[in-house]
Amino acid sequence: MSAPHPRPDADSAAAESAAGRNRPRRREGAAWVFLSPWLLGAAVLTLTPMLVSLYLSFTEYDLFTAPKWVGLDNYVHMFTSDPRYWRSAVNTLLYVLVAVPLQLALALAVALALNSIGRGKGFYRSAFYAPSLLGASMSIALVWRALFNDGGTVDDLLSTFGIDMGGWVNQPGWALLVVALLTIWQFGAPMVIFLAGLQQVPHELYEAAEVDGAGRVRRFLSVTLPMLSPVLFFNLVLQTIQAFQVFTPAFTVSGGRGGPADSTLFYTLYLYDRGFTASHMGYAAAMAWVLLVVIGIVTALLFRSSRSWVFYNDKG
């Protein structure tokens, strides 16, 4: 159940339709014609399956026999008698808390560095962006597994310094970090957006701050961060939503089981396991809806908090 990624201009559609009310109707008809393929697709391919999945979440359904209505049983079982469910929820939360802040910090740091160099910006930007293009693929996750495996490259490198760890992906305490590192390494998308944001900061502000005797750190804290806060907020929301849905790296790095000892059993991984391995499609659907609600709540909380720290320069 992955939602299409919202784009920065997604909310401008609402503004346009509001403006459309005082436009001639002929133009509106054309808009509907253009929209129709998407609308049809959304209705048939997104909305209907979502409603079906909501229905299925109240049933016991194994794909083979007709869904059996069980009311809230799936939800009750999830919260009361499925220790692995809680394990997967805790893992996912941990992962979100570790990976998202680190990834954003790195993206911002690199964006700042790139913003201050003159030559070769295009090259570096592409170079740093490349991992994000590759990152969603199985192949990179496999490479990652090989790097951090017992006797892998990282293991060898550390051994030369006399640190003998014997691989990271096969130890319960470290495996989650390996998956998080893979995500952090793919900081390209937020970095590009930060870079765009940095270039929107008016130069006069820096000059004014300098005249007032602000140092580099001061300028960063008092000018860059506030001016960048909408972009930071946007990245934060987007990356948090994505992190909750992490699947591929964990699936690959752990050989599909979320091991060792369930340390990388993420929510989506367990959902997949319930649905496709154990044939509890109803239970999996219920899990998906709980995830949707949780992501919704977290996003709402982020929006609520944004009032106190995001600064929109409307008068600019």
Partner: protein, 435 residues
């Protein structure tokens, strides 16, 4: 230089017409996609769908056999399709759920009870065109559910211990032979662990398959015939305690190696060269042969304390007919051909394990070479020594297999005692089998 993020180009008035046309075409495409299916083959022929899992080698011989079948039955045309095991299992489930199961399908032992109880398989008992006289009754029973014959086994496989005989000899450890007990096995593991810089074996505690062999050696089994559990937490705790103690002593692989097992030979401690032996199915020995080389040998699994053998002959795969098939007679013909036709047997060879048809098996065995020959000899040495295979596992077993491996991680990394973990596994298993 200011950089703007790229934006989708906005259609101008001039660009509108192509967009309208495109969207209309898209609409047509969407609607046509839900259109009717092509019905029947050309020339009034009966068309059969036949699907299986496997690799390109298996596909080549299967298609050759199918062509022969078509030549003999000019009125029937067979459409074949295949994919890898995991995607096949999921695809077949989805097809079956949508009422589009292929007429003839290759099935795994674990699918039989689920598919049969869902009414997806045709009862083959009253199909005169299928003869099963050449297949042993114990083997046939693996395709039965609720006393009806829903599938016919195609090949047989058995558990096997693969080991590196050169290194065993160098370590001065006697090579295993039929009738060695689990106690003998433990002793050998400890000796190998002490005498070499590797462990004696891949820790068998990770898999329900090896627990089952151990359990059967003690006169119990994973499931009753009715699909309930046929062992208790004490049994499982004992098994896990034994393997885990060996693991802690360096006699079998440590947890951080065991946890990497994902089914491929390359990620087994034995396949990686960290251990000197391992348990597997004889249909999967090829992967180890490629990694270990010529000193690879096959041995039977240990037997129980009173000499009861735990290993058994299992169908490597079965074949069944869809209950919804519009051509049950033609589909049955194809099943019979695949199982009993001597010429088909020659073409198919051991691509699906050793044939279950006695006559065909005896006929093709002399022509086998290399590893195929050794596997055939291994199976022959066990003929008549083993107990009947268990009936097909109940529906929840697939989930329990994964849970077994996950739970053993907790034992191996010493996060939980074997006893507590076993109790947890059993609790989970009971609820899984009820649902």
């Amino acid at each position: 230089m200011r950089q703007k993020p790229p934006r989708a180009s906005e259609p101008t008035t001039a660009g509108k017409l192509p967009v309208v046309i495109t969207s209309l075409l898209l609409l047509c495409g969407l609607l046509a996609g839900c259109g009717a299916k092509a019905d029947g083959a050309p020339g009034g022929k009966i068309e059969l769908q036949f699907s299986w899992w496997g690799n390109a080698d298996r596909a080549e011989v299967t298609n050759e056999a199918v062509e022969l079948f078509e030549r003999r039955n000019p009125g029937i045309e067979v459409q074949t399709s295949f994919s890898s095991y995991n995607s096949y299992i999921q695809k077949l489930a989805t097809q079956a759920a949508g009422g589009n199961a292929p007429d003839v399908m290759q099935l795994d032992y674990r699918q039989i009870s689920q598919y049969a109880s869902a009414g997806l398989l045709l009862d083959l008992d009253d199909r005169p065109s299928i003869s099963t006289g050449e297949v042993t009754s114990a083997m046939l029973r693996t395709g039965q559910a609720n006393g009806e014959q829903y599938a016919i086994p195609m090949g047989r496989t058995s558990q096997v211990m693969v080991y590196d005989s050169a290194r065993w000899q160098r370590a001065g450890v006697p090579e295993p032979e039929f009738g060695w007990t689990w106690r003998d096995w433990s002793r050998a593991m400890r000796q190998l662990g002490e005498a070499t810089d590797r462990t004696g074996a891949t820790d068998p505690g990770w898999s329900e398959d090896w627990f089952e062999v151990w359990l059967r050696g003690r006169g119990k089994s994973l499931y009753t015939d009715r699909g309930g559990l046929n062992y208790d937490a004490a049994d499982l705790a004992r098994f896990w305690r034994t393997t885990n103690e060996l693991s802690q002593r360096g006699a079998v692989s440590p947890a951080r190696q065991t946890t990497q097992i994902d089914g491929s030979a390359a990620n087994m401690p034995f396949g990686r060269g960290n251990a000197l032996s391992g348990f597997t199915w004889d249909s999967a020995v090829g992967g180890f042969q490629a990694l270990i080389g010529d000193s690879l040998r096959l041995a039977p699994l240990p037997v129980g304390p009173d000499g009861t053998p735990g290993q058994y002959f299992k169908p490597s795969m079965l074949v069944g007919v869809s209950a919804d098939s519009p051509h049950p007679e033609a589909a049955s013909k194809l099943v019979d051909f695949l199982i009993n036709d001597p010429r088909a047997g020659e073409i198919l060879g051991v691509s699906r394990g050793l044939p279950v048809n006695r006559t065909i098996r005896e006929k093709i065995t002399p022509s086998l070479t290399g590893l195929d020959e050794r596997i055939a000899e291994f199976q022959e040495s066990l003929d008549g020594e083993l107990l009947a295979p268990p009936s097909a596992p109940p529906q929840g077993d697939l989930a329990l297999q994964t849970a077994f491996q996950r739970d053993y991680d907790h034992v191996g990394f010493e996060l939980q005692s074997p006893r507590k973990t076993a109790e947890q596994f059993l609790t989970n298993a009971r609820s899984e089998l009820q649902r």
